[in-house]
């Protein structure tokens, strides 16, 4: 089906219609804002209780948030560099691997909604 065509949403299951709300571009800003608000609330929540972790570094307000944000970014950047080094065409290992071949049709139960 052509993704650019507007499809009749009423044929989708109820849960499908609900989930597809998250895929719309016009809603992505709302999702983004909600997440920023959640992160802010979680950061502020750090001031509401006595922090006593195993290590001193855990007592910094928002330590886990800062660590998570920067380490996640670092992970993606390193992975990008890694890809340039180890990426090969899909049929690199030829017929000795499954990467270039299709899954046998007789073991599938395909069908469109």
């Amino acid at each position: 089906m052509d993704p650019n065509k507007t499809e009749d949403k009423s044929t989708l299951p109820l849960l499908g219609r609900f989930l597809s709300w998250f895929t719309k571009t016009e809603n992505s800003n709302k999702i983004c804002l909600a997440l920023v608000a959640l992160c802010l609330a979680l950061f502020l929540a750090d001031f509401t209780y006595d922090k006593h972790g195993h290590f001193h570094i855990e007592e910094i307000p928002g330590f886990y948030g800062i660590y998570g944000f920067f380490m996640f970014t670092a992970l993606i950047l390193v992975a990008k560099v890694l890809r340039t080094l180890i990426k090969r065409p899909e049929n690199y290992y030829g017929d000795k691997a499954i990467d270039g071949e299709d899954y046998p049709n007789d073991q599938l139960e395909q069908g469109s909604k």
């Binding site: 089906m1 993704p3 989708l12 299951p13 849960l15 989930l19 597809s20 998250f22 895929t23 997440l35 920023v36 959640l38 992160c39 950061f43 929540a45 209780y49 972790g53 195993h54 290590f55 855990e58 330590f63 886990y64 948030g65 800062i66 660590y67 998570g68 944000f69 920067f70 380490m71 996640f72 970014t73 992970l75 993606i76 950047l77 992975a79 990008k80 890694l82 890809r83 180890i86 990426k87 090969r88 899909e90 290992y93 017929d95 000795k96 691997a97 499954i98 990467d99 270039g100 071949e101 899954y103 046998p104 049709n105 073991q107 599938l108 139960e109 395909q110 069908g111 469109s112 909604k113």
Partner: protein, 564 residues
């Protein structure tokens, strides 16, 4: 001594009668009933050592029942049940028998009280499971299965060699806690390490799991590696080396998973990373850490199976598990999408999901023993888990860009298997006490503290924020059709290339050597020909007449000489 039926025999008996039953629902029912019966059997077992048999002068302990073996036995039964429910539609007898024997062998190994029994079941898991890969019936899966089998059998052979050396040193084959030192213990350690996918020994996992059938991968994901985790927990608890091995295991797969296109291979890398957490727990070795490892293995088998199930359902409907070809499937496969999200939340250890209440035991046990660097690596690896299993799997399959595919929802039995597994993931997360009660040691632990919940939510939500930031700025690497090199390149490319070079060189050398010898022989023959050939004086033909003349001359000479 009380003799009881070894639990593995229930599976073996079922596998034997399966072929005589009519195809269809009756066989599928037996596949479901067997693990239920086995779980009931394990549940009612008393603690102790049973079913001893004599074998070439040794006493084999077929059933050693304690809390550690019991929890692994139970989760293996549960995994077999859920996997077989998911595979209800499969009518291939080979896969059905393989699934039963594989689960039975893994359970047999868990209850093995000595290293010889362990060896038998260790090899049996390898032999049974390879059929789940070959059942795909393609050229690629045949070769992949061979590679898998060679590595798994090698692991068993090393185990046997280690056992023999250990027996020479200690005179005992009992499978109990060992200390690394002698060659025998190192070999056993290496053997466990291969099956546990230690760094550099790991690649059979990512190579073979995506090559199995849709249902086969779900079953494969549960047993082999967790059997190795059990074996390490039994044999090498408190071995400090394992802390560092485990930390590396949590770390390196997250980079590979990030750029991998085949989602089943992403899950295999993710499985490797989760094993890392368990191995760290074994290395720390305190009661809390071993509890953490056992409970994490339990929870992990469920959410990993759930993720493999959801990707498998997508594959059944679309024919592919490649992220570059998928996207936007939440519209027509919303239930599968929800189950996948629950699996993703569980593996990412969101509060109220199973990973949260089990992984934190390992994290806290590590922090308690003052390993700050290891602890920091584990926290980083937790963010990494969110990246590939928590975000990548559901986002690029069910959300993300619209692939235009509108497949049907998964078959009803698959939905039931996924639904049941998802329910267990949530129940464990919300109410962990029954799981804690099954653990090897008493649990004095409260996962739901304010600091713990807020800290974990911060880590995950800020990482999610980073993901959105990277996606919007176009920095996040796109999903593209490609394969990525890993250690298996050494035995799939380097060694064959090297072998080829030697082969070509050898052939060239002998061809040259051959031609030199040939030339020599030719020259010799030619020389002899010239010297003694028909052209030469030696072999010139002479007429009979000249011969008669010469005879007459000789006779004349002898006549004349007789007168003197």
């Amino acid at each position: 001594m009380i003799s009881i039926l070894p639990t593995a025999f229930i599976f073996i008996a079922s596998a034997l009668i399966l072929g005589f039953l009519p195809r269809g629902h009756i066989r599928s029912t037996i596949l479901l009933a067997t693990p239920v019966l086995a779980a009931w059997h394990i549940w009612n077992l008393p603690v102790g050592i049973f079913s001893q048999v004599e074998f070439v002068g040794q006493t084999l302990d077929m059933m050693r029942v304690d809390k550690l073996s019991r929890i692994f036995g139970l989760i293996f039964c549960l995994a077999a049940f859920l996997g077989n429910l998911y595979a209800w539609h499969v009518r291939d007898l080979i896969q059905q028998v393989a699934a039963l024997l594989y689960a039975g062998a893994a359970i047999g190994a868990v209850f093995a009280g000595d290293l010889i029994t362990l060896f038998f079941y260790w090899e049996a898991t390898a032999l049974a499971s390879v059929f789940l890969i070959w059942a795909r019936k393609t050229e690629g899966s045949y070769h992949t299965g061979m590679r898998y089998l060679i590595i798994q059998i090698t692991s068993g052979v090393i185990l046997l060699a280690g056992t023999a050396l250990l027996y020479r040193d200690t005179g005992s084959i009992t499978f109990e806690r060992m200390t690394l030192g002698s060659l025998g213990t190192w070999l056993i350690f290496l053997s466990f390490g291969i099956k546990c996918a230690f760094p550099l020994l790991h690649n059979w996992l990512q190579d073979s799991y995506p090559a199995a059938t849709i249902t086969g991968t779900v079953i494969l994901s549960a047993f082999t590696t967790k059997l190795a985790v059990y074996a390490l927990a039994r044999g090498f608890a408190g071995t400090e080396l394992l802390i560092y091995i485990g930390a590396v295991m949590t770390l390196f797969p997250i980079f590979f998973a990030e750029i991998e296109n085949d989602l089943r291979r992403v899950l295999a890398y993710s499985l490797n990373n989760q094993l890392g957490f368990m191995v760290v727990g074994i290395g720390v070795g305190t009661e809390m850490a071993i509890n953490g490892t056992a409970s994490h293995a339990f929870a992990h088998i469920l959410y990993k199976a759930l993720l493999f199930m959801s990707v498998g359902a997508v594959m059944l409907r679309t024919g592919t598990s490649k992220a570059s070809e998928l996207g936007g499937l939440c519209r027509t496969m919303p239930r599968t999408a929800m189950f996948c999200l629950i699996g993703a939340a569980s593996i990412s250890a969101f509060p109220f999901f199973s990973g949260f209440v089990t992984k934190s035991l390992i994290m806290d046990a590590t922090a308690n023993q003052h390993y700050p660097v290891i602890w920091a690596i584990l926290v980083f690896a937790s963010a990494g888990v969110l990246s590939h299993s928590g975000i990548k799997i559901p986002y690029f399959t069910f959300f993300g860009h619209d692939s235009g595919l509108r497949p049907k929802e998964a078959p009803i039995h698959m939905q039931m298997a996924m639904g049941l597994t998802a329910l267990l993931c949530i129940i464990i997360g919300v109410y962990p006490d029954p799981l804690y009660a099954l653990l090897p040691y008493e649990v004095v632990y409260q996962p739901y503290t304010m600091g713990h919940v807020i800290g974990q939510l911060q880590l995950l939500c800020f990482a999610l924020l980073a993901f959105i930031f990277l996606m919007r700025s176009g920095i996040h690497p796109p999903e593209i059709r490609a394969v990525n090199l890993d250690v298996d390149w050494i035995y799939r490319r380097l060694v064959p290339t090297f072998y080829n070079i030697i082969h070509v060189a050898t052939v060239k050398f002998f061809t040259y050597f051959d031609s030199v010898i040939n030339d020599f022989i030719q020259l010799t023959i030619k020389g002899l020909y010239k010297l003694l050939g028909p052209e030469t004086g030696v072999s010139r033909m002479r007429g009979v007449g000249s011969m008669v003349v010469w005879v007459a001359i000789l006779l004349g000479i002898s006549l004349i000489s007789s007168y003197f």
